[in-house]
Amino acid sequence: MIVEIEGLSKIYEGKQRVVAIDGIDLSVEAGSLFGFLGPNGAGKTTTISICTTRALPSAGRVRIAGIDVVQSPSQARRSIGVVPQYNTLDRACTVYENIHFHCLYFGFSRTEAQRRTTHLLEQFHLTERAQAYPAQLSGGLAQRVQIARAIAHHPKVLFLDEPSAGLDPQSRIAMWEAVKNLREEGITVVLTTHYMEEADELCDRVAIIDHGKILIEDTPAALKGSIGAQRVYELDLRNHAGIPQLIRTLGAQPGIASAEATAKGVRIFAGGTEGLLSEVVLAANPYGLRDLTITETSLETVFIRLTGRELRE
């Protein structure tokens, strides 16, 4: 296991005691693409900060490629590449110099650094912008430079914190491609996201995290399969008093895996693919059915199932 997290917790003491991470255990296999999925404030960024030596844990330990990040931070950094949420490119240096100096920090000779920089600029289609300053780059380009710089010293693990935050859809797809290509180089990628499509599309394994705890961890397919349903019906009802009765009625229907109460009405997890709509409407009509939405099960459904809340609140 290239990333090993044991009993990790982070508590900010102060006027308001905040438990950012509440006992996380996790291992990431070498060469895989691992995702932390959770809402803002779930503890994803704090976990990444501790893994990348930029924050100290209150308890627990993290080892990257066998090196303890608290005991030997500067040794661990050789195995770590980081792309933080915000743009940390050196504003006083050009794109070329950003990567070039990064190589020098990691002990490359000038010729090696030159070769590596040229290669990375080509790989990330940045050669034309080599002499541009970070302030002149669009968000998507700056993100690409940051990824190129982060892997310049051949780290074993690349941490991406909310890589698609603030990117337009086109840049996001370009970024996904770049990240997928990294796997072919054998780099393990750990990313955080609150976009379920991103976790679903990119990751081999996903850990769903909320309030500093890992709720579940598996492959996206297995997570979606755990719902035991293919579709989710959200009913918006006028008459809330009859909800328990309705849930009982619906629960007995063939093809419905389960039903539960929500703030607005009822949520139905349906196993079958078709033929249910008219029965659902028929059963719900006496309770003042106002609206009905049908969605395919996704990681979002998994999150809702585990927390009772939607991911983007």
């Binding site: 930029r54 030997s72 500067s74 040794q75 950094r77 006083a92 990064h102």
Partner: protein, 288 residues
């Protein structure tokens, strides 16, 4: 902070230690090269920054004023000491140049890097202890301070209407004072840059730079404060006092000055104190 490599590499401990040192040295050199590269590109602003203050000071007080009628009486210090004001000013202006470089080279850029851009995060990710990243800032600033101090010489030679009387008794002493003062000022810059909130960095000129300059025995020797014993004792907490007195004793020993042992001792004291405070503040800022 000493670090222990926790990974079994199978190599003898001695060579692992050696490679760790090489790793640190290379990372440190890389950071220094980066700073040097950026400074070289911004050479013109650097020259302006370094020259402007001593040049204007010398121009007004040692060239324009002496040409005005009664100008000499406006320089009570020099009248009391029986020497030209330019001789009093030379070490003082060098001290200001050294101190100001520390602020401009460390405190101001840090405010930006800690503030909006968080650029510092990338340099903190170097394979180097965080304290060494902070120390690189001090060393680089010290180099700029030394350049700034040396620049004062030709200015003080050419601008004043009455020549400066400088005489170096001991070169090693001058070099020691210059280096101690420069590193101390870099540490002062680091302390200020890590203590002051980035958005309030503009305030430091009024709150820190001006008071420590004007009460730093820059424009008058410390001995000249004899008539004001409370002030003479009060300014002893100001590190700039030892920078200007140190340079005064090394360059213009004819003027009254503090005892060299006191100067070297206090400079070392402030060097250790400010470096400790600065590195502690830096760690607090970058490690959550």
């Amino acid at each position: 902070m000493p670090e222990l490599a926790t990974v079994e590499t199978g190599t003898p401990a001695a060579s692992a230690q050696g490679s760790l040192r090489t790793q640190y040295l290379r990372a440190f050199a890389g950071l220094f090269l980066r700073d040097l590269h950026v400074l070289r590109r911004e050479l013109f602003p650097f020259v302006i920054r370094v020259c402007m203050n001593p040049m204007l000071f010398l121009l007004v007080f040692t060239f324009i004023m002496p040409h005005m009628s009664g100008g000499a009486s406006m320089n009570p210090t020099s009248a009391a000491m029986g020497t030209s004001f330019s001789t009093v000013l030379l070490p003082g202006l060098m001290a200001v140049a050294i101190m100001f470089s520390g602020i401009a080279a460390v405190a101001l850029p840090l405010a930006q890097e800690f503030g909006i851009t968080r650029e510092i995060d990338d340099r903190v990710m170097c394979p180097l202890p965080v304290a060494a990243v902070a120390f690189e800032k001090i060393v680089f600033s010290a180099m700029q301070s030394i350049i700034a101090a040396i620049v004062v010489f030709p200015l003080a030679y050419y601008i004043p209407s009455t020549p400066v009387v400088a005489h170096v008794n001991s070169w090693p002493y001058l070099v020691a004072v210059l280096i101690l003062a420069s590193i101390t000022s870099g540490a002062l810059g680091l302390t200020i840059g890590t203590t002051v909130e980035p958005k309030q960095i503009g305030l430091i000129f009024g709150v820190v730079v001006m008071p420590i300059t004007f009460l730093g025995c820059v424009y008058y020797p410390w001995k000249a404060l004899d008539p004001l014993p409370w002030l003479q004792r009060g300014v002893l907490i100001n590190p700039i006092v030892y920078m200007s007195e140190g340079l005064r004793s090394a360059l213009t020993p004819a003027l009254p000055h503090m005892h060299p042992a006191m100067i070297l001792g206090m400079l070392t004291f402030f060097l250790v104190l400010l470096t400790w405070l600065g590195i502690r503040g830096f760690k607090r800022r970058v490690i959550g």
